[in-house]
Amino acid sequence: MNVIEHGRGKPPLDPHLKALENEAIHIFREVAAEFERPVMLYSIGKDSSVLLHLALKAFHPGKLPFPLVHIDTGWKFPEMIAFRDQVVARHGLDLIAHTNPEGLRDNVTPFSHGSARYTDIMKTQALKQALDIGRYDAAFGGARRDEEASRAKERIYSFRTPDHAWDPRNQRPELWSIHNGMIHPGESVRAFPLSNWTEVDIWRYIQAERIELVPLYFAERRKVVERDGMLILAEDKRLELLPDEQVREEMVRFRTLGCFPLTGAVRSQATTLDEVIEELEIATVSERQGRAIDRDQSGSMEKKKREGYF
């Protein structure tokens, strides 16, 4: 068997990124070795793209020893779905897309049910369904500790009850780089190889490793409408404009990608990776500022995590 070399002509990573990469690969291999039915949650965004890249590295020259699951709410940006399908084809991945059938039947939308209930039904409940259907005992996710206060206390192996619930008061201590992967039947872990990465690390790594991203991360003239202090993309027919709302064209990009009605764009001129990184290093607001679901109430991420969200 010939071993393919992907790194020809690419400068080596700086020691900082190399250390983060090594740690992530270690976690991938450990989970794959210790659990019977691992799976990777793939959300198409920049963190998922880095996560996938690291997984490919961890198991090279072999293929990924687990499938990918994408929770499709039906309200993702269309460019995300197109990008997803390209990536799956290029790497020959086993991807399972799951949509909550009850939510679909009841026509649950961000507009009809509000962001909190919509997120619970179409994301949290859908995720639990997908994990139950696959009987997965470990699920990789791209969450980072620097994202949000309750995530700062998240473990690399985050234990979940058979109901997928997270109990922050009852977590296993993690010492050194030794991970305890022993669980009772029905229990599972969420494993977070990117725990120690920051947003800047993610972007620097994307740049250094030349990882492809959904074009929405780069500034372009796009149709947007201002709603609740957020710039919402106004390209989907299902977005009904309120009486005083007006669609404008602006140079915008997205710092995170979720469901388009709940993800705010930022005004930006950054059309290249270098410009995005430069913009980021002088940014004074965090990336989750554009996420409506974090703002329902203080502590709402912790609440969602307790209920089974990532």
Partner: protein, 495 residues
Amino acid sequence: MSSQSLSQTAAEIDSAATEPAALHHPETVARQARPLRFITCGSVDDGKSTLIGRLLWDTKAVKEDQAATLRRDSTGKQNELGLPDFALLLDGLQAEREQGITIDVAYRYFSTDRRSFIVADTPGHVQYTRNMATGASTADLAVLLVDARAGILEQTRRHATIASLMGIRQFVLAVNKIDLADYDEARFRTISRDFREIALSLGVRQVTAIPVSALKGENIVMRGGEVMPWYGGPTLVETLEKATQRTGQTTGFRLPVQRVSRPGEGFRGYQGTVAGGSIKPGDSVVVLPSGVEANVKAIVTYDLVRNAAVAGDAITLVLDRPVDVARGDMIAAIDQRPQTGRAFNARLVALSPDGIVPGKRYWLKAGARRQRVMVRPTSALDLTSGNWDDASFLPVNGIGVVELDFEDTAIFDTYETNRETGAFILIDPESLNTVAGGMIDGKRSKSGRFDALPDADRATITLPARLLETFLKTEFARAHAGEIRVAGPEEVDGE
């Protein structure tokens, strides 16, 4: 910090770190070191949250929307400088916010132009010794915080003891609230001297003491020169930028095998993270516990077939002949092997409410190797006196010396020589929880003693009989119990 104590890693970044920290220029050079991991020790009263908050704030790691959330939560609680209540920023869980205490380990991230940092923020009370041990296990350095008005407290000694036990060899003493002590130089000198004595008694020589005001931001990121003209040393951030990292290079090559990769006919690679030393194609290695020897044919990574790998690298190793290697095995340098055997001595920190029960069988996990072990505590550390007293049970948060007995071969280095291959966790076979973190002191021979040292390598000290008992209760004596021969006037050869 003396220049002589800087290791290679620090020397490399040293030339870049001699000027004061300049923060967040967009065009930063690639960082020249891996992230420095450190732990902060101190209590709420010492201003620990304020110190960490100040570090994050002054390095611009806190963004405006996060600060706005703080303002919304804090019901107008702001300090006199108009900054948000940092404790709210740090205490991420609702239970903590409600109780006003930090109950867990939280990790924070910030960076300067020169380096990035991971802070393990752990609570200070006695009942959270286990959280501190968890945070300290991966830390290169400990920042110990004292209130300039109160000076060294019992908890300072306790924190320093736990940090040194977990293998931390660099301390920074932050003498906080120096503004409330009238920037008194003599007061600072006294506290620093007292602390250096404690550190020395624990075998830690690398100590930097800094007078700081976390609230006012003096000597944290910005200098406090105007109000403390008598202090010419580094700021906290400068000290952290120059700190050294443990490299795990004091042992030979170690590769704990995580998994065997067999993607197709003709390829068989052993995947793992190098836990010590370095390796290149052509090197001779031994597979443990089987003892089979082989040579390295190739080091495969996704990017390139490499011509060398060092400690910390996640690699796939290909050997030159078909040998039987499984997950949990160790591939090691042929001429610098780890210790193998069925009996070891170790020190433990008990993490679970049930403590560590004598004679109980646990799962022990070290690297990728998991095996059954019987654990017998022999002594426990009294954190107040610093003495090691006889004990057969370790309660939660207890630190003790234990004997480990395995049913099959165990493979270790001592924790002192390798923090990766000398560390382990214990898992309760019923609850499956992680119930202890442990550090290997050495192998025990069948007679219950350490492997004998030839007399030619021995030296003799004598001391007054009244001091003998005190000496034998020190950490040093306990850690080396099997190597010390005690002979009284009657020439009794005992331990």
